[in-house]
Each structure stands twice: as structure tokens, then as C-alpha cells.
Symmetry: C2
Subunit: 362 residues, 2 copies
């Protein structure tokens, strides 16, 4: 187990060595480690090397001039100048929050960005302002729409954070696929098959091979197949792609750059937009009803759902955000577990950048 | 088969007899028949009798004073004065569109309303204004959250309509459950079992009995079970409930009034809000990028997805809105098929209100 402080300190130093300004390195490391704390290990420190590699390929600009290229009182389009999504998304969220203060809600579409870590982090930035936060992003194509053999969508997550009163906030953060790619990787390591509805093979037939995506297959939209509503997961992933990519002027569909494929820039000439796209929003609660009233009703909502009768074998009905928050509390005390290849990788980064990493030598 | 014009004319006369003003009767009948045209038969003319019954119970006010009770430049809360949702939702959407004209986007939470027909109709009202339309509603509790035996959510649909250029618009309209209740009713009539992941029984165990909900069971959130992502469907249904109910001051969760249960008003004293809640939004495309540019990219998005290689056995990859639009084109020519009990029901209404219904005597 590794303390979240040590890991964040380490990530911060790597971002500094990449050329990021001090404030950006701090923010990026905080967003990254928040994923490890909340149990989304695939989006945390394990990705640090990927960002370094992107920077080496000049696909990440460590000193971006993030700027508003178009705006109205309630909306903006932000060009991330190829910066880290970890830094660009919070900047866009701040703009959305300022606009919400002025006109009730603020909505910002972002182009020319990169992978932004976990969507939930950015949505939650609205909470201290008594606002509801929304955040989504498109991503490299791993998902086949219903009836499609081709991969045209990313796992395209949606996050919604809603403030409560005495209860902790409601935080939904979900990929629009049946399962996240990280869960497939877990099964791969254990040499277990995937449940039905998670993947299809290269011929477009339902498959249970946890390695199917690497073999030319695809992840499936939430629902899995038509009979179980995969067309709905496809609709949701498509909405995320359109809001993040088409509205902002970023790439969309099959053109979204994969996170860390070295050869990708070769096809830049055929792109339909700039980099990866995100879409964020903030809605002031008191633009709808007094915040105090809202908080009381949210507490009632949360308590009502939490005290529902559980089905046989389940301990309790959970509120969106419960599992991640509980894990974050635990991991901030006990530390974060890392797989041996991730530790090895961090040691290499330490060597490469000459960073003290005594804490990695367990 | 019955012509959509005759059915709409008939519905209009029934709404007039219920006491609706001329313009409202026309609008309500149009919304209702749009469901039949688009193939959402469960939300169309088959529900006419339900609205009549609600009016008879004084749960629908035929002459509502729909009014804004709170607003900012970009948001509003509308009190529907217990009017037909079929009329209240378009009124709220018009307010959202006006606000979007001013500040880029407009968002309206609606309380004290009733069932509003199909969400897609209202979202599509934004399209002629070069705006993206969003629409959602909560509904009477039929759905058990993940791990819950109790029914706490409605089928809580989300609709998103996006304008394109030469291609028809993108229109996603989806219940946040694996399957809509109407699909279960089809299986009931055919005496067929339900696929796994659609329902659970009264004990909270997975079930394939198409009658499970009537026997104390529940519909399941999109995903069906935890392994297939039902917690994501639960998150989405919960977001719809919070936006529609908690933000507006309507009822939410288990308190949302069922569409047409006669005895329901008895528990009015324990309600947490007013009537059913909706949430609608409009986003001006050119609040983000020039509309012409956006339309071109949407055409490219649509064509790219439509020409994807289909999986074996499928003819083509569909764009959200394709099936409904194709059916509407067909049914506006050939007419709308009605089940014998629905026709019988319409004849009774004709008798009750003294409306000429020659066309129903096929």
C-alpha cells in the first residue's frame, strides 16, 4: 500500500519535469490521485506514464494557453491548446461556475484537450458553490454501436454531482458501456471470461473472451444487446460524443484520438476537429428553488433510497457516490494498492526524471 | 388501421369536452397522436381514457394557469397548476427556448404537472430554432433501484434532440429501464416470458414472468443486474428524478403519483411536492459554434454512423430517431393500428361525450 500523499507528491514532480507550471502540476496530480482514492484505479497513477508518453510525442502541451474562443452569457467554447485534460477540464468548469453565478447555469464545450481523468472529479467542483455539476467526455473508439461491427464510440462517461444537506452529495459517474475497460483488464489478469453483454468479437458476434477488444472486437454499449436495451446505451454514448465533440469543434466518433497510441498522429490530416472533447456544466440550485429547501429535500431523497428494503443477499441500497466515497475514506487512511507493473513503471519514471522515490521501494 | 387525422380529431374533441380551451385541446391531441405515429403506442391514444379519468377525479385541471414561480435569465421553475403534461411541457419548453435566445441556454423545471406523453415530442420543439432540446420526466414508481426490493423510481425517460443539416435530426428518447412497460404488456398478451434483466419478483429475485410487476415485483433499471451495469441505469433514473422532482418542487421517488390509480389522492397529505415533475432544456447551437458548421459536422456524424459495417443478421446501423421517423412516415400514410380493447374504449368515450365516431365502426 502506498500513501496517497506520496503518490500525489510523486505525480506532481513528474508533471513538473514534463514542464507543467507549479499550479498545473499540483492540480493534475490531485485529479489523478482522486481516481486512485475513489477506486477507479485505471484512471489514476497507472496512467501517469501515458501522459508522459503523450508529452514526448508532442501530443500534450505542458504550458497550454487555455482560452475561451466563443461565448454567450451562459455558454462558452474553450480551446484547451492541447493541454492535459486534467488541467483543462477544471479550468472549463470554473468558467461554467462563473456563468452560472451570472445567469443561473453555465455550459462549456471543450476542444483540443486530452484525457481528463475521472469525470466525477470535475462535476464535483460545482458542489461547494451550491451548484449541480455535470461533466462528460468523448474518448478513443472502443465501443460498437448497436448493430455495428465497427468501433465508433469511446466509453464516453457522464458524471452528475448534486449537493445535499447533512447527507453526503449524490455523485453519479458512469461509462455508457456495460462495463469499463478496466474491469475487462481485471478479468484478463485472472484469466476469467467476461459476462455476456460486455464485448463482441471481430465478426460482431456476442463474445465472452476478456481479450476480445484486443483481437479486433469491441466493448458494447450499456444494455449489451438490443433485447436488453443496448440501443439506449448507444444513444447515451452518442449524446456524450455530440456534446463533447461536435458542439465544441473537437474530434468525434472514430476520429477521437486514443489515449496513448504512438502512431496516431500520422492520420492528423484526416481529423474532423481538434483533440479530445469534453462538455461540462454547472446549475445553481437557487436558480430553481431556495438552496436550503433543496438540500432538505435531497437529504430526504437520499435517506428514502438508502433505507429501502434490500434484495436477498444485498446489505443495503446504495446512493450514487457511496462506494467511491467510502473507498476514498478508507484509502486515505490505509493507502492505495498498486499492481507490481504499475510500481515498476513509476520506478522507471523516477529514474528517467531523477525523482526521489524511496517510498516505492517497499 | 385508423387515420392519424381522425384519431387526432377525436382526441381533440374529447379534450374539448373535458373542458380544455381550443388551443390546448389541439396541442394535447397532437402530442398524443405523435406517440402513435412514432410507434410508442403505450403513450398515445390508448391513454386518452386515462386523462379523462384523471380529470374526473379532479387530478387534472383542464384550464390551468401555467405560471413561472421563480426565474433567472437562464432558468425557470414552472407550476403547471395540475394541467395536462401534454400542454404544460410544451409551454415550459417555449420558456426554455426564449431564455436560450437571450443567454445561450434555457432550463425549466416543472412541478404540479401530469403525464406528458412522449419526451421526444417536447425535446424536438427546439429543433426549428437551431437548438438542441432536452426533456425528462419522473413517473409513478415501478422500478426497483439496484439491490432494492422496493419500487422507488419511474421509468424516467430522457430525450435529446439535435438538429442536423441535410440529414434528419438525431432524436434519442429512452426510458432508463431495460425495457418500457409497454413491451412487457406485449409479452403478456402473447403469453410469453420476459427476457432476463427486465423484471424482478416480489421477493426481489430476478424473474422472467411478464406479469411480475402486477404481482408485487418491479421493472429493473437499464442494465438489468449489477454485473450488467444496472447501477448505471439506476444512476440515470435517479438523475431524472432529482432534476424533475427535487429541483422543481414536485414529488419524487415513491411519492410520484401513478398515471391513473383512482385511490391515489387519499395519501395526498403525505406528499413531498406538487404533482409530477419534468425538466426541459434548450441549447442554442450558435451559442457554441456557427450553426452552419455544426449542421455540417452533424451530417458527417450521422453518415459515418449510418454507413458502419453491420453485424451479421442486421441490415444497417441506425441513428437515434430513425425507427420512429420511418414509422411515422409510414403510419401517416397507412394509418395507425389499434388493439380491439383500445377501439372499444374510444367508442365508450364517444358515447359518453356524444362525439361522432363513425370512423371507429370499421
Amino acid at each position: 500500500m502506498y500513501s496517497s500523499e506520496s503518490l500525489q507528491q510523486f505525480a506532481r514532480q513528474v508533471f513538473l519535469r514534463m514542464g507543467c507550471p507549479e499550479a498545473d502540476a499540483l492540480l493534475a496530480s490531485e485529479v489523478l490521485i482522486s481516481a486512485d482514492l475513489r477506486g477507479v484505479d485505471s484512471h489514476g497513477i497507472a496512467r501517469l506514464n501515458g501522459y508522459v508518453r503523450l508529452a514526448g510525442l508532442n501530443r500534450v502541451n505542458p504550458v497550454p494557453a487555455v482560452r475561451v474562443v466563443h461565448e454567450t452569457p451562459g455558454t462558452a467554447v474553450v480551446d484547451g491548446d492541447a493541454g492535459l485534460g486534467l488541467v483543462v477540464a477544471p479550468a472549463a468548469m470554473r468558467i461554467a461556475i462563473e456563468k452560472a453565478k451570472q445567469v443561473g447555469t453555465g455550459w462549456v464545450a471543450i476542444r483540443n484537450s486530452n484525457h481528463f481523468g475521472i469525470a466525477g472529479y470535475h462535476a464535483m467542483l460545482a458542489l461547494p458553490h451550491d451548484m449541480i455539476g455535470l461533466c462528460m467526455t468523448n474518448a478513443g473508439p472502443l465501443v460498437a454501436p448497436t448493430f455495428s461491427k465497427d468501433k465508433l464510440l469511446g466509453t464516453n462517461p457522464i458524471a452528475v454531482a448534486v449537493p445535499a444537506g447533512q447527507e453526503p452529495p449524490f455523485v453519479a459517474d458512469l461509462a455508457t458501456t456495460t462495463a469499463a475497460y478496466g474491469k475487462l483488464e481485471l478479468l484478463q489478469r485472472k484469466e476469467l471470461p467476461a459476462p455476456t453483454g460486455w464485448v463482441q468479437d471481430a465478426a460482431g458476434k456476442p463474445d465472452t473472451d476478456a481479450h476480445a477488444v484486443r483481437k479486433g472486437g469491441a466493448l458494447l454499449p450499456l444494455g449489451g444487446d438490443r433485447e436488453h436495451g443496448s440501443h439506449k446505451g448507444y444513444c447515451l454514448g452518442a449524446v456524450v460524443d455530440i456534446f463533447s465533440g461536435v458542439l465544441s469543434g473537437a474530434n468525434y466518433g472514430p476520429w477521437v484520438p486514443p489515449f496513448a497510441t504512438a502512431g496516431f498522429m500520422a492520420s492528423a490530416a484526416q481529423l474532423v476537429g481538434a483533440g479530445t472533447g469534453h462538455f461540462v456544466g454547472a446549475m445553481r440550485v437557487d436558480a430553481f428553488r431556495p438552496a436550503e429547501e433543496f438540500r432538505e429535500q435531497m437529504d430526504n431523497w437520499i435517506r428514502t433510497f438508502r433505507k429501502a428494503t434490500p434484495v436477498p443477499g444485498a446489505a443495503q441500497v446504495l446512493i450514487p457516490g457511496d462506494p467511491e466515497r467510502q473507498l476514498a475514506e478508507e484509502r486515505s487512511k490505509t493507502g492505495i494498492p498498486l499492481l507490481p507493473p504499475v510500481v515498476e513503471n513509476l520506478r522507471e519514471l523516477a529514474g528517467k526524471f531523477g525523482i526521489d522515490a524511496e517510498f516505492l521501494k517497499l
